[in-house]
Amino acid sequence: MKLYLRAIFLFLLILLLLSGLVWLRFQNLHSKHLDLRLARFKSTCESIVSTYQLVSQTIAEELLLQEDVIELVHAIVTHEGDERNHYRGLLFRKLSPMYNRIRQYSVRQLHFHFPDGRSMLRFHAPHKADDDLTPFRPSVRIANTERREVHGYESGRIVHGFRHVYPLQYRGEVIGSVEISNSFQEIYTELIKHVDGGNNQYHFILLKDDLWYKLSSGQRENYHPSQLSDAYLCENSLAKVYDMLGGSVMMTTEMRELLDHLRADPAVAEGLRAEQDFIVASCFKGKTYSVLFHSVKNVDDKHAAYIINMHPEDYLVALQGNVRMQLIIAVVFAALLTFLQFRLSMSRAAQLSTQKFLQTLTDHMGQGLYATDLTGKITFLNHEAEKLLGLKEKECLGRDAHALFHVPNDTHEEDVCPVLEAILNNRAYEQQENFFRRSDGVRLPVELTSTPIEKQGKIAGTITLFQDISARQQQERELAETQKRLKKANRHLARIAHIDGLTQIANRRLFDQVLQNYWKSACRHQKPLSLLLMDIDHFKAYNDTYGHQKGDECLRAVAEVIQNSCMRPEDFVARYGGEEFVALLSDTGQADASHIAERIRNNLLQQQLEHKGSAVESVVTLSIGVCSLQPKLTDDPQIIVDCSDRCLYLAKEKGRNQTRSTEC
C-alpha cells in the first residue's frame, strides 16, 4: 500500500514538474508572441502617424507656409466684412486644388484658424466658419499662444483624428494657424494595408472624459457606451450609420460579440484602467484571438482613446495544441517513470526482504559468516561472526579478511590467503581446523567452509562459514582421555578375567580361548601343537604341611618357573586349576615338547622348594603329561587336553616327578 501511495505521489510530482515546465514554456512563448504583436502593431501605428506627420510637414512647408498664402491669411485677419470674406474666398480658391490633391494622401482636414482660436476656413466643411474652437481644441490654442507646432491625437465634435497644427506668422506676428488632420478612418485604412492583410479587425473607443464635454446633446446621440467599459464611448457612425451609408465596415458581428465577451475579462478591465498599451488573448466560440489595445495620447500626452485590433491567432492555437501534446507526453513519461520506479521499489523491497530474511537467518544460524569480494575485502558479516571475532561490522566492512583475522596455521601467518586462492581457482575450501585471530589477539580455533559466490556465471566473491571449535576440541581431548582410561580399565578387567589372581598367569578361561585359536592356527598352517599338563606332586600334603599361605606361595613359585621355562613369546602358560598348570606350545613337536617339559621339571627341582610332606622328594616336584599332535579342524581341541591328561596320569602312576608323553 505504501509503495502504491509513493508511486502515486511520485507520478503526481513528476507530472506537476513536467506540467510546470510545459506551462512555463507556453507562457513564455505566449507572452513573447503577444508582446511581439503588440510591439509590431505599436510600431506600425507610430510609423503611420509619423508618416502622416511627415506628409503634413511637407504639405505645410511646401504649400501652406508660403508667402502668398501667408499674405492672404494676413489679409483675412486684418480685414473685416465683405473684404475679409472675399480674401477668405480667394484663399479657398487658391488652396482648393491643393486640398483635392492632398486628400488623396489621406489628409482629412485642412483648417485655418484665427489667432483667437476661431475657425477661419475649413476646406473639409467650407460652409462653417467663425465658430470658437478654443473650448474643444487645445491644439489650436497651443499653436496660437505658444507659437509652436502641435502634433497628436485630438477628439473633435464631429471628427476625431491626428492633428498637425502649425502657427502662421507674418513678419514675426502670429496671424493664426493652419491644421492638417487625419481621421481615424485614414489610420484604419493604412492599418489594413500594413498589418497582416485581411485577418485584422479594428475598433476605436474614446475616453468619455476626453470627449463628452465637447459634445452637444445632439452630438452625444452619435455615441454609445463601449461594450468594454462605460468609461469609453463608441461612435455610432462607425457601427451603424456608416453601414447604412455604404461606408467602411468597421466592426463585424464577430468582433462585437468578442468585445461583449471581453467586458467580463478582468485583464481587459485592468488594462483599460491603466490607460496603457496592452494585449490579451481570448478564446471565444472555439477560436483564439489576440486583442490588443493601443493607447492613443492626445496633444497633452494624456490617454484619450484606444485603437483595438482583433486578430485570429492560429499560432496560439497551434501553440495550445503543442502544449496539449507535450502534456500528454508528460503524462506518459511520468507514468513510465513511475512504473519503472515502482518496479525498482518492488524489486528493492523484495531484495530488502530477502536480505532481511537472510540477515535474520545468518544472525540466528549459530555460525559465523562473512562474505568478501574477489580482493578479499569484507562485504558482509553476520552477528555471530562479529561475536566470535570480537569485531564490529563497521570495523570489518571493506577490510581485508585475511589481514584482519585469518591465521591459517599455527606457526606463522601466510601472505596469500588460502581461502581466496582456492576460491579463485574455483574450488571450495574446507578446513576442519583453522585459526582466526580475535580482536583481543586470542587465537580462535575454527572449522570453516568457504564457497565462491557467483554472479552471472562469474566468481564475484567468497562466502565463508565458520564455527568456534575450541569447545569441541576440549571435548575431544576429554574423550580421548576417557577412552584411554577405559582402555586401561578394560585391559585390567581382561586381565582379571584371564589372569589367575594367585599366580598372575593366564587362567583356565583364557586357556580355553587360546587353545581354540592355537588349534585353528595350527590347522591352517599344518603345524604341530603340543600341550603340557602339569600337576604339583602331593600338593595337598604341602598345604597340610605348610598351610595354605605357603601353598599359595608354592603355586606362585611353580607358575613362575613354568613361565620362565617357556621362553618363546608364543608359548602360552596358564593355571589349569588347583595345583595343575598347562603350557601350550605352537609349532612344537613331541621331542621339543618333552624337552621343554623336562626343562620345566628340572628348573623346579633347581628351585629346591621344600616339601616335607611329599612322598617323592623333599622338594616340590612336578608330574608332566605331554601331548603333541597335528590338529585337524574336524577334531575337537579337547582331545589334546584329554591326551595330556592321560599322559599326566601315567606320570603319576609311574612315581611322579617325571614326564610322560604320548609316545609312552
Partner: protein
C-alpha cells in the same frame, strides 16, 4: 357529431383568424421602412440631419427605419416607382416629377423654415464684385446642381430668362449638389451658380454673392409610397409630423433640435395647388434629360 352549421361556424372563425394573421404579417413582413433623404448632401450631413429625424419616424411607425443613400434624384425617384423606397424627402421638382407618373407617391407634409415659412427661393450666385447678369456671355460657365433639382436647370433658366438670357445657349454643367455648385463659383471654375438661397447664404463668408430673384417655391416635403406603406402608417406619420410645433413648443423644439435645418421647424399640410407653379414651369421649360 357536430352539425353542419357548427362546422361552418368553426371554419369561418378559423378563416377570420388566418385573415388577421395575414394582415398582421403583411404589416410587419416588409421589415425596416426604407427612407431616402435627398441625395444632394454629403454623407456626414445626411448622418447629422436625418438620423435623428429617422428615429422620430421609427418611433411613430414602431419599426426600424433604414436610411438609404442615393447619389442623385433620378435613382431616388426610380426607387419610389419600383417600390424600393418607402419614404422620401424631396424637393418640389422631384416631387412633381415623381407624382406625375405615379399617383401612389403621396405627400405627407411640407416643411417650414425657422420663420414658419414653407417656401424658399433659388439664387444666382457669384464670387467677387457683383456680377451683372446681363453681361453673361457664352464664354462664361454656369454651374448647376442636378437636372432634377428645382433650383437647377429649371429655376436657373427661368431666372436668366428675366435677364433676357437663354440657358440653352450658355455653357453650363452640373456639380452634383448645391454646395459644390456654390463652391465651384468660389473656386473660380464657374462665374455663376444656380443654387438654393439658403445654401448660397452658407457661403457668404467665402465671398459668395447672390441674387434672390426666383419665384417662391413650396418647401421640401416628405412623401410616401402607398404601395409599400399602409394607409395606417401614412396616416400615423402625417399626423405626427403635422402635430409638431417646434417653433412654439419647447418639448417639440428639443425633439427636433438635431434635425436638419430645413425640416426641424415643423410642417404643414400639402395642398394639390402648392406645386402648380412647378407644373407650369415644366410646361414652359424643357429640362434636358428630365422632361424633354
Amino acid at each position: 357529431m357536430l352539425g353542419g352549421k357548427r362546422i361552418w361556424q368553426i371554419s369561418l372563425f378559423v378563416a377570420l383568424q388566418l385573415l388577421v394573421l395575414l394582415c398582421a404579417s403583411s404589416l410587419f413582413a416588409a421589415g425596416a421602412v426604407r427612407f431616402a433623404p435627398q441625395p444632394m448632401e454629403s454623407k456626414d450631413a445626411i448622418r447629422q440631419q436625418f438620423q435623428p429625424f429617422s428615429r422620430f419616424l421609427a418611433a411613430n411607425l414602431r419599426t426600424e427605419v433604414k436610411l438609404l443613400h442615393h447619389r442623385n434624384y433620378r435613382t431616388l425617384i426610380e426607387g419610389l416607382w419600383n417600390d424600393s423606397v418607402d419614404l422620401a424627402y424631396l424637393g418640389p421638382l422631384p416631387y412633381v416629377l415623381a407624382q406625375q407618373q405615379d399617383p401612389d407617391i403621396v405627400p405627407l407634409a411640407r416643411f417650414v423654415n425657422a420663420e414658419g415659412d414653407s417656401t424658399y427661393t433659388c439664387a444666382l450666385a457669384s464670387f467677387g464684385p457683383k456680377l451683372d447678369v446681363t453681361q453673361i456671355s457664352s464664354e462664361t460657365p454656369i454651374v448647376l446642381t442636378q437636372p432634377y433639382s428645382t433650383c437647377g436647370y429649371l429655376l436657373t433658366a427661368h431666372q436668366l430668362r428675366s435677364f433676357g438670357k437663354n440657358l440653352e445657349e450658355l455653357p453650363y454643367y452640373y456639380a452634383g449638389n448645391h454646395s459644390e455648385a456654390a463652391l465651384d463659383v468660389i473656386r473660380g471654375k464657374a462665374s455663376l451658380a444656380g443654387v438654393k438661397t439658403p445654401v448660397a447664404k452658407q457661403y457668404r463668408h467665402l465671398g459668395l454673392h447672390f441674387r434672390e430673384d426666383s419665384i417662391l417655391l413650396p418647401g421640401h416635403l416628405l412623401v410616401a409610397n402607398k404601395r409599400t406603406l399602409s394607409a395606417e402608417q401614412i396616416k400615423v406619420l402625417r399626423t405626427a409630423l403635422l402635430a409638431l410645433r417646434p417653433r412654439t413648443d419647447l418639448k417639440d423644439r428639443e425633439l427636433t433640435a438635431e434635425w436638419g435645418v430645413e425640416f426641424r421647424y415643423g410642417a404643414i399640410p400639402v395642398h394639390p395647388d402648392d406645386y402648380a407653379e412647378i407644373n407650369k414651369l415644366l410646361l414652359q421649360i424643357k429640362v434636358p434629360g428630365v422632361n424633354e
